[in-house]
């Protein structure tokens, strides 16, 4: 395919600049997004199993709600019923909740003993999964304008540029696409290898990237979009206003739980109820949000679909699943969310999204490296802007991963020494991140890339070792021994430990034996003559 040279050059310039401007924040958004596919699992992994109370048989839930609401005032308005085995059957907030980050959120768990007595205990919630999700949505940029996170806005703008980068990438790749699509040339120098793998990853995951770019823009700016859309609607209301109910009820008038399950069975097919969140039970707008799961369906989120209804008369106010045949737009809209959150194809889909997210992060990292390579000069010390960008790339990308890995590692230790976990997660992330960034700028990109990769490898290795320790010393008593599936996080940490260690070795090799006129080169100091000769002859 032939494209005019001036078009190619125009779009190459666009690709380069949109890429270099957005690469760093998108890198964090993508790898943290990969982790957030397992947000709930990570929080459950981090929460001591002693926090959860025993599950009860389905027919006992009504008794539990009655006993809890008559003993605790806080359980009369809002509470959540869980049907999952490893979660407490009933929880409600004791304070510190609300919108946004809930670092001080304390919830009370409740269950019934075999004799039917109410058992409760209150704990600080574990927000590790939510913090990773926040990192995913904001790239760690703190602060708010009004009620919008600055980080979300920044990522929204970055996603627009990223869309342009995708289009321009395709345009200027088209002429060579057929020729070099699957070419992964390892024999033409490191630069060519990085370029080939950048193109290969970009093209094979292109649909995924378009979806992510569009959805992120929508997530960031939907309020503004609705504002503009209201002009086109004129006098037509954008949203139907839910009517206030005239009669106010109280929790003791709540229908039995079995009725809700029956209602969900009538409304949907193949779904099971995961949890039910009741809110404002004695207000004029009572509501119950029911989370339902069907791994065979295209679910709105990877964590399930939901139905909101009035808890007293079962009137559905909003649902992410189709309620009748005429309803064409609910499944369409839900599919946009689903495509972003990986809510289809069950666990396999989640792992695929995990891998695609990491590949995306690789795309941005390799893009930055290519930018640096392209501007390389034939001199030992590279230009100041190049050195700055190299430090920024290493410091931000590797520093952020090191910070997350360190936080995962520190999690169990925080519980063991008994500190407020959520605040310490946040502190641990930012201290590690900025320490890595400062280290990079003081020691240079080449040296610190090696050191940070080693640190990442060691931190990953220590995660399973910490788990082993909690098993070896059962007297700690916070975590009980669980069968195999719960060790997946430890296993993945071990794999990444090896990957990072290998990365460190490769980076070190490049520093001492790679091209010397490079930003990544380090002067060879203590290498004996014949080793460096050997390296030269093999290079």
């Amino acid at each position: 395919m032939k494209i005019r040279g001036d078009i190619l050059r125009t779009y190459q310039t666009i690709h380069t600049w949109t890429g270099i401007v957005t690469g760093l924040v998108l890198f964090i958004g993508f790898y943290a997004g990969s982790l957030s596919m397992f947000e709930e699992e990570i929080s459950q992994w981090a929460t001591p199993s002693s926090h959860q109370l025993a599950q009860i048989p389905a027919e006992k839930f009504d008794e539990l709600i009655l006993k809890a609401s008559s003993n605790f005032d806080k359980a009369q308005q809002d509470f959540t019923v869980n049907f999952t085995d490893h979660l407490s059957p009933l929880i409600w907030s004791e304070g510190g909740g609300g919108r946004g980050l809930q670092l001080e959120h304390v919830i009370r768990h409740a269950t019934l003993s075999e004799q039917g007595e109410l058992i409760t205990q209150a704990h600080l919630t574990n927000e590790l999964g939510d913090l990773i999700d926040t990192l995913h949505r904001t790239a760690g940029i703190a602060g708010k304008i009004g009620h919008e996170d600055i980080g979300v806005i920044v990522l929204g703008i970055a996603a627009m540029l990223y869309f342009i980068a995708l289009v321009s990438g395709i345009i200027f790749l088209l002429p060579t696409l057929v020729k070099s699509f699957f070419a992964l040339r390892t024999n033409k120098g490191a630069n060519r290898f990085w370029l080939d793998s950048h193109n290969l990853v970009g093209i094979i995951s292109l649909p995924f990237h378009f979806i992510i770019a569009i959805t992120v823009v929508v997530f960031a700016f939907h309020d503004a979009f609705y504002g503009g859309l209201s002009l086109a609607y004129g006098d037509e209301p954008l949203f139907e206003q839910g009517e206030k109910s005239k009669i106010e009820h109280t929790v003791d008038q709540l229908p039995p739980i079995a009725n809700y399950l029956k209602k969900v069975d009538e409304l949907t097919e193949g779904y099971t109820v995961e949890s039910m969140a009741f809110s404002g039970l004695s207000s004029s707008r009572p509501s119950v949000g029911i989370t339902i799961i069907n791994h065979q369906a295209m679910m709105r989120n990877s964590t399930g679909d939901f139905i909101y209804m009035n808890p007293y008369n079962f009137e559905v106010s909003f649902s992410s699943v189709k309620m009748n045949e005429e309803d064409v737009y609910t499944p369409l809209v839900a599919s946009f969310f689903s495509l972003h959150f990986g809510g289809y194809a069950g666990d396999l889909g989640r792992w695929l999204y995990f891998i695609m997210g990491l590949l995306g992060a690789f795309l941005f990292y390799s893009g930055n490296l290519l930018w640096l390579e392209k501007r390389r000069q034939k001199q030992a010390v590279q230009t100041k802007p190049n050195r700055f960008m190299a430090c920024l790339t290493v410091g931000v990308c590797l520093g952020s991963i090191l910070a997350v890995v360190s936080t995962l590692l520190a999690s169990k230790w925080f519980y063991l020494i008994g500190v407020q976990v959520n605040n310490h997660y946040l502190a641990c992330y930012y201290v590690t991140f900025f320490a890595a960034l400062i280290y990079t700028f003081t020691r240079g990109a080449a040296k610190s890339a090696i050191h940070i990769l080693y640190a990442m490898g060691i931190a990953c290795l220590l995660i399973p070792l910490t788990t082993l320790l909690t098993i070896a010393i059962p007297s700690i008593g916070l975590w009980e021994f669980k069968p195999f599936p719960s060790f997946i996080i430890e296993f993945v940490a071990l794999v990444f430990s090896a990957v990072f260690y290998y990365g460190a070795l490769k980076t070190k090799h490049r520093a001492y034996h790679g091209e010397s006129n490079s930003i990544w080169a380090l002067p060879v100091i203590k290498v004996s003559e014949n080793i460096s000769d050997k390296a030269l002859s093999s290079a």
Partner: protein, 99 residues
């Protein structure tokens, strides 16, 4: 392919193209979505359609913005995008006037 002279080549005009693509691309997206909202399947009051309409804005907007750089000059970008806006808003207002 014959070599292009300097005049025939695309001029960069980064700022003017970016701004016109962003502003006029967005208004064009709204015009198209407005027509769809009123006259697409289900009409204006179909349930949940408002969310779908909102979702449509972004892909149209960003596609227009991405392709704005194909215009030879910034001025042409403005002229063509303004005309496209005029056409789609006229269609929309005409249809609204009819009904």
């Amino acid at each position: 392919m014959a070599r292009l002279t300097a005049d025939e080549k695309i001029q960069p005009h980064w700022w003017i193209k970016t701004i016109s693509g962003t502003v006029l691309g967005l208004s064009l997206a709204y015009a198209i979505v407005a027509i769809f909202a009123w006259y697409g399947p289900g009409g204006i009051s179909a349930p949940i359609k408002v969310q779908f309409n909102m979702w449509l804005i972004t892909p149209i907007w960003l596609l227009v913005l991405s392709l704005t750089y194909l215009f030879k000059t910034g001025l042409k970008a403005i002229i063509y995008l303004c005309s496209a806006n005029a056409v789609f808003y006229s269609i929309f207002l005409f249809l609204r006037w009819l009904s």
